[in-house]
C-alpha cells in the first residue's frame, strides 16, 4: 500500500473508525470517529479506508448467505484493520472499519445505530434508500459512537 500511510497506518488504525451506511446503489451516510487527542487522518489514509470498505462489500454479500443474524461480525481483515458489518432488515449495510474493538461494544454500537435508523425511516419526509442529511441523526450517531467505541 502507499508508503506515506505507513506512519499513520499502525498508530492511527486503533484510533480511526470509519462508519458508513451503504444502500443498494450508493453510500447513504458516512462518519469518521477519531479518538480525542489524535489529529485527523491524512487524505491518503482516508481514501484508503474508503477503498477497504468498498472492497469488503462483496464479502458482506457472501457472509449474508451463511447466517440468519443481522450482525455479521468481522467480514474482512486488511493490514491491522477489520471491517464489521450489520445488515438491516431492508438490506441496508452498516459497515464499520476499525482497528480491533471488542465484539460486544461493536454489537451494541450497531444495535443503537439501528434504532436511530428505524426512527429516521419513520419520518415521512425521508425516502428509503436515499442519502441521510438529518443533522440530529448525525449528532446522535456520534454520541453513540463516543459511548461505545472510545
Amino acid at each position: 500500500m502507499a508508503s506515506s500511510s505507513s506512519n499513520n497506518g499502525s498508530s492511527g488504525a486503533n484510533q480511526l473508525l470509519l462508519f458508513v451506511i451503504v444502500g443498494k446503489n450508493e453510500p447513504l451516510y458516512e462518519a469518521e470517529f477519531h479518538k480525542t487527542g489524535t489529529a485527523g487522518a491524512s487524505d491518503s489514509v482516508t481514501r484508503q479506508n474508503y477503498f477497504v470498505l468498498h472492497s469488503a462489500l462483496d464479502l458482506v454479500e457472501k457472509a449474508a448467505w451463511t447466517t440468519n443474524n443481522m450482525y455479521l461480525k468481522v467480514v474482512d481483515k486488511v493490514n491491522q484493520q477489520q471491517v464489521s458489518t450489520y445488515l438491516t432488515a431492508g438490506n441496508i449495510k452498516f459497515m464499520l472499519l476499525h482497528g480491533g474493538r471488542s465484539e460486544d461494544s461493536i454489537k451494541n454500537f450497531f444495535s443503537d445505530v439501528y434504532e436511530l435508523y428505524v426512527k429516521l425511516s419513520m419520518n415521512p419526509f425521508y425516502r428509503y434508500d436515499t442519502p441521510i442529511a438529518s443533522k440530529s441523526f448525525d449528532t446522535r450517531v456520534r454520541a453513540v459512537a463516543r459511548r461505545y467505541l472510545s
Binding site: M122, P124, F125, A133
Partner: protein, 193 residues
Amino acid sequence: MSKSSAAANGHALWQKMPKANAELFALTYGTLVTELVRDYETTEEINEQLEKMGYSIGVRCVDEFLAKADQAGMTIPSCRAFGETAEVLAKTGFRMFLGISVEVQMISDSSFSLLIYENPLSLFVELPADPKWKDLHYSNLYCGILRGSLEQVNLKVECTFVKDVLRGDDVNEIRVELKEVLQDGAGEEYQEE
C-alpha cells in the same frame, strides 16, 4: 362549564372512544402530507389543502362529540362566553378524540390560543433542512377541524398556527379568532310561518 368538569368529561369520553394505534395514525398522516408535498408546489397550497381536509373532518366531529356526550349522560350546556368554548374545546374535545390535554390562553374576549404540548400527528417527524419548509404547518389539519366544528355551532372563526415544535419552538400554539356569530343557518323555508 367549569374547567374541572370539562376535563373530567373529556377523560370519561376518551375512555369510551374506540382506540387506534398511535404509530399507525402518525404514519398515515405522514404519508398524507408527503403526497400533498408531491402534488402541490408551494407550502401555502399545502397548508390550504390540509385546512380544507380538516374542515370536512371538523364538521363531522362536533356531531359525534355532542352525540357521545349525550349518550354518556353528560350535558354540555351552551357556552355563554367565548372563553367557555375554548375550555370545552381544549379540555373535552381534544381529550376525547386524541387523548391529549391542551392548555388555553385567553388573549381577548374574541380570541384565544390553544397550547398543545404533545402532538400525536408529528410523532417521528422532522422537517427537512431546506428553508422553503419553514412555512409548512405540518399539523394544519387541526386548524381546519377547529374551523369546521365551530362553524356548525354558528361561530365563524379563523385559526392559524403561531408556534410549531417542528420548526424549533417549544410548544405548538394555535390562535383562534372569532370573526362573527352566525345566525341560525336553517334557512327561510324552515322558519315557522
